[in-house]
């Protein structure tokens, strides 16, 4: 920091700082403020009332259920995919890596649509599902599937570069010391990536709860049954229930803030270890 050569004149430094702050204020702080202002426009009681209607509570419940199913599944998938990619050589590895990236490059609406095409009445598996009295589209399973699809890159993408950088020597060392594959995973591989895994899970969870496009296509918007929080926000807003819409939106915003705070807090608490282990 004391390096004279990389010091800029005060004017440049201030201009850059103010520019960055103004940008953040305009695009992040202001909308967030607007959400809160609108949510509390009619006072604290109206806010609580808006949150405690049956349909709102059921949308919160559904969102939590969807996240509770899709996040653990994505942890399992992300861990096994990145473990396989980083520690073993096999055919089709680069194909697998590109496939993992796919949900990022596909519009969420398309992600939802493929499930309609697969499981819908006219879909590939539709007739079979009807015969067996199974509902996927316009029901909770469809929402879970679409959410898993859009969120599955988060954990894997966080872990693959980390595991590749760490190489496989520590695992080999554990093996020569007599550890089984499973113990090596628990004692060596997993602890080495736990921070990356944690970030991945946070991002994955935030997206799972906030996903709109893909879920919107498969949900069918049945009130009290298949509306997640983001979908519910839209419905309330379209019905001119601004307090209700922004109250639910404030919960989603809160989720984002808590996620950020948790990440920062963990980084701060474990800063020594993060330095020691080279993260």
């Amino acid at each position: 920091m004391n390096n004279q050569a990389i010091r800029e004149p005060a004017l440049v430094r201030w201009t850059l700082t103010i520019l960055a702050l103004a940008f953040l204020a305009l695009f992040l702080a202001l909308p967030l403020m607007a959400v809160l202002v609108e949510a509390f426009a009619k006072g604290w009681n109206a806010y609580l009332r808006a949150l405690s209607t049956d349909v709102t509570l059921s949308s919160i419940r559904l969102t939590l259920i969807v996240a509770a199913i899709s996040v653990p599944l994505n942890i399992a998938f992300g861990l096994s995919a990145s473990w396989a990619i980083a520690k073993f050589d096999f055919g089709g590895k680069s194909l697998l890596i590109s496939l993992i990236e796919l949900p990022f490059s596909v519009s969420p609406v398309i992600s939802g649509l493929i499930y309609v095409l697969l499981f819908g009445l006219q879909g590939l598996l539709g007739p079979w599902l009807v015969e067996n009295d199974l509902r996927v589209i316009f029901a909770v399973p469809g929402i879970v599937l679409a959410t898993i699809f859009v969120t599955f890159p988060f954990v894997a993408r966080e872990l693959i570069p980390l595991m590749e950088e760490q190489g496989r020597e520590e695992e080999e060392a554990a093996l020569t010391l007599g550890a089984s594959g499973l113990r090596t995973f628990w004692l060596v591989t997993l602890p080495n990536v736990r921070w990356g895994l944690f970030y991945g899970v946070l991002l994955c969870n935030a997206r799972a709860m906030g996903e709109f496009g893909a879920v919107s296509v498969v949900s069918g918007h049945i009130r009290g049954l298949t509306n997640t929080m983001p979908l519910h926000v839209e419905i309330l807003y379209n019905e001119y229930d601004f307090v209700g819409a922004f109250a639910v939106a404030s919960l989603l915003a809160l989720l984002a803030l808590v996620t950020l705070a948790a990440k920062t807090a963990l980084e701060w608490w474990h800063r020594d270890e993060l330095v020691a282990t080279g993260h």
Binding site: E170, A173, T176, L177, G178, L187, A276
Partner: protein, 347 residues
Amino acid sequence: MIEVDAVSKHFGDFMALDRVSLSIGQGKLVALLGPSGSGKTTLLRILAGLEQPDLGRIRLGGVDATGLGARDRRIGFVFQHYALFRHMNIAANIAFGLKVRKGPQRLNSAMIDEKVNTLLDLVQLGGLAGRYPSQLSGGQRQRVALARALAVEPRLLLLDEPFGALDAQVRKDLRRWLRRLHDEMGLTGVFVTHDQEEALEVADEVVVMNKGRIEQIGTPSEIYDSPATPFVYRFLGNVNAVACNVSGGNARIEGLHVAGGTVDGRGTAFIRPHDVELLELSPDLPQATVRLVTVLGPLVRAEVVLPDGTALESELTRDQKDRLDLRRGQEVSIFLRKAKVFVGDGA
């Protein structure tokens, strides 16, 4: 006794090992010496069970272990970059092998602690038990890696370029220390190196490898004094390789006669620089012109040119140089103390 029997291994089109056979006696410290890509690390990994050979067998103490996995071989492996568990402190690293052990051989935690302490003392890291690997120097990490491998009392200790990542002084100290440790503990060990000095200084036996094959196996002095192939000659130390004609058991190099060579025809004579003696000009001996004199501390390296233009490198002491008053352009007589002739161009 560890036996490698006609082991081959290839990666894609690359032949890493080509029917390599080797046996390692109990208590020996063996160096696998060769340039990069010669297959030495692959052989080490196959011994450890981290790699499976395509063909051939591995026998440990007379028992076939080819199909045995790395975790069941009881072979310690010290990785080139140590591969310490970065999220565990030094004591936990060393205790790892003892803690994952199952069944009746598992020690209780007091015994594990005691053993870890003994090992920490052995590798002279007594006060650092609570540190993390990233807080240690390269030499210290190396010793932790060694202690961790020794903790499980391996029947064979393998070390991959054990001194490769260290700076020159630490390297010298550590290799002498390793040799002493080996003698005290009576271990059987194999280490990989591309540094001939390291191999000659530390090992009981040197295995010179090139392009997936073994060129020569022998004690350090056998390897250095009587290299079996041109490759070994070139790889161990400096050597003059001079084209010559062989006839009737004699090789002729412009004015010089060297005994050796079994097949008449073209050959290559290998002469170590310290076997090229420079003398006062004398009519009985062939002549050469000094082209370059370089003083390297206690040693002097001189380049001389024979009348036909063949250049030879000579190594002499400071003393000899002063007595001859050696300088550029000077005419001297030369005498070859020792040379070895191989058929062909010696490649």
